[in-house]
């Protein structure tokens, strides 16, 4: 696969994810944002 094709697929996936996120209702977005903020702490929490 050419470099350009890979780039197009990558950008398409990213655009798809953004569209999917924007199509969610506000509550689900807040839930995902909340979970996203917690993710960096998970390794610490696992090892306590």
């Amino acid at each position: 696969m050419s470099k350009n094709a890979k780039r197009i697929i990558g950008m398409g996936t990213l655009a798809g994810m953004v569209i999917a996120y924007l199509s969610l209702d506000e509550s689900t977005r807040r839930y995902l944002a909340h979970i996203g903020k917690q993710v960096p702490y998970l390794p610490y929490r696992y090892w306590i």
Partner: protein, 499 residues
């Protein structure tokens, strides 16, 4: 060593763990700072009335039954559980009042009268939930505190993956996947709010509490304290020692390993094992000390938020209240619950509009009040911030008194004020003073999927050797069944490690 195991705190997690350790032959001492045991699951006497401190019902008695099974004694000999039916009377944001019985089919008829479009959702919800509970019957007392244990659980309950999407969603997400009508959604989604998290952030699994209640709820004869007292009586029969008014100031360490505790009066008691039933932040930051923890452990404990606290109001009446069930819930709409979190709680203000939960304990056990009198526990206004902006809880007590009377006039009967014999208030600050829960957070740490099971502080501490944790800060968080389950799980770890 003076003892083989010392348990700090005689809450449900502490007492269940200590009693099972004693049953397994360990010389065990429980140290409780208060003059009564049970922590948030307790009952105290005031002018002839017996009021429950916090917890007001037993839902899902499996962990309690498991405790007695492991202890080798019949539960009936220690605790008498009275069935409660109907489960709730609801007063919803759109002004409806209806009472929900235990029977699932009768509940279906009630849903049909309000929201015919949700009857199918209710049936699917019950079928899925019952399937989940049947296949994962002893899930609560099965540990899931490490990746290995999670894998073992998956192997033990192969159908668990079917339910995974519901574990990963929010409480509101699960509710919406079955119910469309806002009134029905509100009656299913309020549970996480009363466990200290708004429906849009609470754990999806909590959505199924609305079904668990239909599998039977009970109230212990003698008040909620009958549960820790029953378990402690059993523990004493196996040699467990329990001291009240014994506050622990420090967990003593030697080379990152526990060697005992120091009490507030300076007495040192040595022990090979220490179990803390306190909030994990208190255990690690106050009793162990941040200086004795690695930066990794400090960061982990610091990363947890506390669950939202609730003010409680205890009311003695000289007449029978006009209520229909042990519990009456004035439930806010889902939107109001989420808004309370997003626009009030997170900014330190008290929501103007909120619901309340009335527990009519004398409906189930008339002995809790003098003859002809009744006792109510009222969770007033739902969860609130610990420190209201610009004010102190002690200064707000008059406002709360006025507000709760107005609320009871609305929820119970217009002339309720004429029948109030006793009324006193416990604010989050009072809970902090009496129970030593930081910020009065009776549910311990905030609960969502990033702070539960293997991401909640491990019952077998990975920071300090021979330190164990039990209670609301571990496993699946606060609540009667989950904290008893935590004690069972922790005792199993100790028996494996030291038995």
């Amino acid at each position: 060593m003076d003892y083989e195991a010392i348990v700090i705190g005689a809450g449900l997690g502490g007492v269940s763990c200590a009693s099972l350790l004693a049953k397994n032959g360990l010389k065990t001492l429980v140290l409780e700072q208060s003059d009564i045991i049970g922590g948030c699951c307790s009952t105290f006497e005031h002018k002839g009335y017996k009021f429950d401190t916090g917890a007001s019902i037993v839902m899902v008695s499996d962990p309690l039954e498991k405790f007695f099974e492991m202890a080798g004694k019949p539960r009936e000999d220690y605790i008498d559980l009275i069935p409660c039916d109907p489960i709730y009377s609801f007063i919803t944001a759109d002004g409806r009042r209806f009472t929900v019985p235990t029977d699932i089919d009768e509940t279906s008829d009630i849903i049909e009268a309000i929201a015919p479009e949700d009857v199918e959702g209710w049936k699917s919800f019950c079928a899925l939930g019952k399937g989940m509970f049947d296949t994962m019957s002893d899930m609560m007392t099965t540990p899931m505190n490490t990746m290995t244990e999670a894998l073992a659980m998956q192997l033990k309950f192969p159908s668990m993956y079917h339910y995974m999407p519901y574990f990963l969603r929010s409480h509101l997400g699960v509710t919406r996947s079955f119910f469309k009508h806002p009134t029905i959604q509100a009656t299913v989604a309020f549970q996480s709010y009363y466990a200290g998290a708004p429906p849009e952030l609470g754990m999806g699994m909590m959505g199924f509490i609305a079904l668990m209640e239909h599998l039977g709820i009970t109230y212990p004869r003698g008040g909620m304290i009958a549960i820790p007292e029953g378990m402690a009586r059993l523990g004493r029969e196996y040699g467990m020692e329990l001291r009240t008014k014994s506050k622990v100031d420090k967990i003593l360490l030697e080379d990152k390993k526990v060697r005992g505790v120091r009490l507030a009066d300076g007495t040192e008691i040595t022990s090979k094992i220490v179990v803390s039933n306190l909030n994990a932040k208190v255990t690690y930051f106050k009793l162990i000390g941040a200086e004795n923890l690695s930066s990794w452990a400090n960061k982990a404990i610091d990363s947890y938020d506390l669950a939202m606290p609730c003010p409680m109001v205890y009311v003695g009446l000289d007449a029978r209240p006009e209520l229909e069930a042990h519990h009456t819930m004035q439930t806010p709409s889902v939107q109001e619950s989420n808004d309370a979190w997003n626009y009030c709680y997170s900014k330190g203000t008290i929501p103007e509009k909120s619901g309340c939960l009335v527990s009519w304990t004398t409906e189930s056990d008339p002995e809790l009040a003098p003859e002809g009198h009744h006792a109510l526990n009222v969770v007033y206004g739902g969860p609130v911030p610990y420190a209201p902006l610009g004010d102190n809880w002690d200064l707000l007590k008059d406002d709360i008194r006025e507000g709760v009377i107005k609320k009871m006039e609305e929820v119970i009967q217009p002339d309720i004020a004429d029948h109030i014999d006793e009324l006193f208030i416990s604010t989050p600050l009072d809970f902090e003073r009496r129970l030593l829960n930081p910020h009065g957070a009776i549910y311990g740490l905030f609960l969502d999927i990033t702070t539960s099971a293997m991401f909640r502080p491990n019952p077998r501490s990975r920071a300090i050797k021979n330190l164990y944790l039990a209670g609301a800060s571990t496993g699946m968080g606060g609540g009667v069944p989950t904290t008893i389950a935590s004690g069972v799980i922790t005792s199993n770890y100790i028996v494996q490690d030291h038995g």
